[in-house]
C-alpha cells in the first residue's frame, strides 16, 4: 500500500548478527589492533584524510561493525606514508595493518593494485 511516505532502513548495528570474520582476520594480521582506544590520532595526522575521507579510526570501527565496503572505500585513500604509525599512543603498527588489509582484499597476486590506484589518484 502506498501511504505517500516510505520506511528508511535502520542504521542500527546488531552485534549479534554481523559477520566479524574480517575483524578476526585483522586481529590475526595485527593483534595490536585489540588495544586501539579509538583516540583518532591516526585520523588527525593523516595527510590524505581531508582529500579522500580516509580515517583509520573509522576503518577499524567499520570493520568491528561488519561494514566491509565502507572500510574498503576509505582504505583506498591511504598513501601509506606511515604518519599514523608514528603518532599512535598505543604503538600499533598501523601502516602494516593497512597494507596487510589491502593485500588481503586484493589477494597476493594483485597485491599492489589498490596501491596503484592510490598512486593514480595522487
Amino acid at each position: 500500500m502506498n501511504f505517500g511516505f516510505s520506511l528508511s532502513p535502520s542504521s542500527a548495528v546488531n552485534l549479534d548478527k554481523i559477520d566479524l570474520s574480517l575483524y578476526h582476520k585483522m586481529e590475526e594480521i595485527e593483534p595490536d589492533v585489540r588495544i586501539c582506544i579509538g583516540c583518532g590520532s591516526c585520523s588527525a595526522t593523516c595527510t590524505g584524510q581531508p582529500f579522500s575521507g580516509m580515517s583509520l579510526r573509522k576503518v577499524i570501527l567499520a570493520i568491528q561493525r561488519g561494514r566491509e565496503n565502507e572500510a574498503r572505500e576509505m582504505l583506498s585513500g591511504c598513501m601509506l606514508c606511515g604518519k599514523c604509525t608514528m603518532v599512535c599512543p598505543r604503538g600499533i603498527n598501523t601502516r602494516h595493518l593497512i597494507l596487510s588489509m589491502c593485500r588481503y582484499w586484493d589477494g597476493e597476486d594483485h597485491g599492489y593494485n589498490l596501491m596503484n590506484e592510490v598512486e593514480v589518484k595522487i
Binding site: 500500500m1 501511504f3 511516505f5 520506511l7 528508511s8 535502520s10 542500527a12
Partner: protein
C-alpha cells in the same frame, strides 16, 4: 556498597508528589485518540481513591503542540499557560497536574524560564491582564498524571481484580514501558528516577505483576516528533523511528506496551498497521500486533473496568489476545456499541495484521 548508601543515592532521583488536592488539565489530543484514558484517571483518583482532583471546563490547550511544531511564538504559549495557572489560582489550588507529557515539559520549561528571566514573567503577567483581566500564582508542584498513578500504584494493586500475569502459564506478562521524551529528558530532576533511571511506568507495571523488559532502543523516541509526523514529507522519519523500536523489542516477545504520552501510544499503535501494510510484518503473536496502552487504561484493566468502557476498541491493534491472556472477560458483541448501546461504526479490517 552498603544498603543505606544505595538508598541515599536513590533518594536523589525521587520526586516529591503531594498525594491530594490537584488541579487537573487535560490534553488537547488525547480525548480524540484514546478518550477513555483521561476519564478513567478521574474515576480512579476521585471515585476509587477519594482524592481531591479538580478540573475546569474553561481550560484550553497548553499551546505546547503548536510551540513544538514551530507555529506560535513562545510568549504566546507562556500567556496561554499563564491563563491555565490563573484558572488554578481562582479555583484555590496550588498543585498542578496535567494529562499530557508535552504539557508537562511545557509547564516545566516555562516555570524554569521565568525563574531565570523574571522580567519575562512580568511581561507575561501584563499580557494576561491585558488579554483577559486575570492574575495567577505559580503552582507549588507540577506533576504529570502518571506521577500520581505511580504514587498510587500500590493502592491500585491492593484493589486490583487482575494481575499482569498469564493465566495459563502463571508467568508475569512481558511489558515494554515507553516514557514520553518530554517527561524527563528535558528536565531530568522533574521526573521520577531522573533521566538515568526513569521508573514511573516500570514501577506501575511491576506493582501490578508484570515483568519489564529491557531492550536496546528502550529510550528511543516513539517517532511522533511533531513536525516529523505533521509534515507529510517528513513522515517517513516518524515511521522509521517506530520501526526501529519494534525491530529492537521484537526478540524479547513483549505482551504489551505501556506509555504515558499522548503521541506515543497513538504512534506505537497505528504505525504497527502501516508497517504491516508496507512490509507484511507484524510484531505480536499469531499475526496480531503488540497492544500499546496508556497507563490509565492499564490501571483500569487491572481494576476490572469493562475494556469497552475504557475505550480499548479505539486501538488499531486488537486488545482481545491480551485480555484472554490475563483472563479478563469481555463481550465481543459490545465492542462497537456506544452510549445506550447505540451502534458506532466498525472500522475496515487491515489486510495483513490480524484484528478481532
Amino acid at each position: 556498597m552498603i544498603y543505606q548508601g544505595k538508598q541515599k543515592i536513590w533518594s536523589d532521583y525521587q520526586k516529591e508528589i503531594p498525594s491530594d488536592h490537584w488541579f487537573y488539565a487535560r490534553s488537547c489530543i488525547r480525548q480524540s485518540f484514546f478518550p477513555g484514558a483521561e476519564k478513567y484517571f478521574m474515576v480512579i483518583c476521585k471515585d476509587l481513591l477519594g482524592k481531591d482532583i479538580f478540573e475546569n471546563a474553561h481550560h484550553t490547550t497548553c499551546g505546547g503542540i503548536s510551540y513544538h511544531s514551530d507555529t506560535i511564538p513562545q510568549e504566546t504559549v507562556m500567556t496561554i499557560v499563564a491563563r491555565q495557572f490563573a484558572l488554578m489560582t481562582e479555583a484555590g489550588y496550588k498543585n498542578f497536574v496535567c494529562s499530557c507529557i508535552t504539557s508537562f515539559g511545557n509547564y516545566t520549561e516555562i516555570l524554569e524560564t521565568w525563574r531565570e528571566f523574571p522580567e519575562l514573567e512580568a511581561k507575561i503577567r501584563e499580557n494576561l491582564w491585558k488579554a483577559c483581566r486575570r492574575e495567577f500564582e505559580k503552582p507549588e508542584y507540577v506533576a504529570h498524571a502518571s506521577d500520581l498513578v505511580y504514587k498510587f500504584r500500590n493502592d491500585i494493586a491492593e484493589r486490583a481484580k487482575f494481575r499482569l500475569v498469564n493465566k495459563e502459564t502463571g508467568e508475569p506478562l512481558r511489558v515494554v514501558e515507553h516514557i514520553g521524551c518530554h517527561y524527563s529528558k528535558m528536565f531530568p530532576h522533574k521526573g521520577v528516577g531522573g533521566a538515568e533511571y526513569p521508573c514511573v511506568l516500570s514501577g506501575m507495571a511491576e506493582a501490578w505483576g508484570g515483568q519489564v523488559i529491557d531492550y536496546p532502543e528502550r529510550r528511543h523516541c516513539c517517532g511522533f516528533g511533531f513536525r516529523q509526523y505533521l509534515v507529510k514529507a517528513n513522515r517517513g522519519y516518524s515511521l522509521s523511528n517506530t520501526h526501529k523500536k519494534f525491530e529492537s523489542m521484537e526478540p524479547y516477545h513483549p505482551d504489551l506496551i505501556i506509555t504515558n504520552c499522548p503521541g506515543c501510544p497513538y504512534f506505537l499503535d497505528r504505525w504497527q498497521y502501516v508497517i504491516s501494510e508496507m512490509t507484511g510484518k507484524t510484531y505480536g503473536e499469531n499475526g496480531y500486533g503488540i497492544p500499546a496502552l496508556t497507563y490509565e487504561e492499564l490501571a483500569g484493566l487491572v481494576l476490572g473496568y469493562d475494556p469497552w468502557d475504557l475505550g480499548l476498541q479505539f486501538h488499531q491493534v486488537a486488545i482481545e489476545p491480551l485480555l484472554d491472556k490475563i483472563g479478563i472477560e469481555y463481550d465481543p458483541a459490545k465492542k462497537y456499541l456506544g452510549l445506550n448501546e447505540k451502534e458506532i461504526m466498525k472500522p475496515a479490517l487491515p489486510s495483513v495484521m490480524k484484528c478481532c
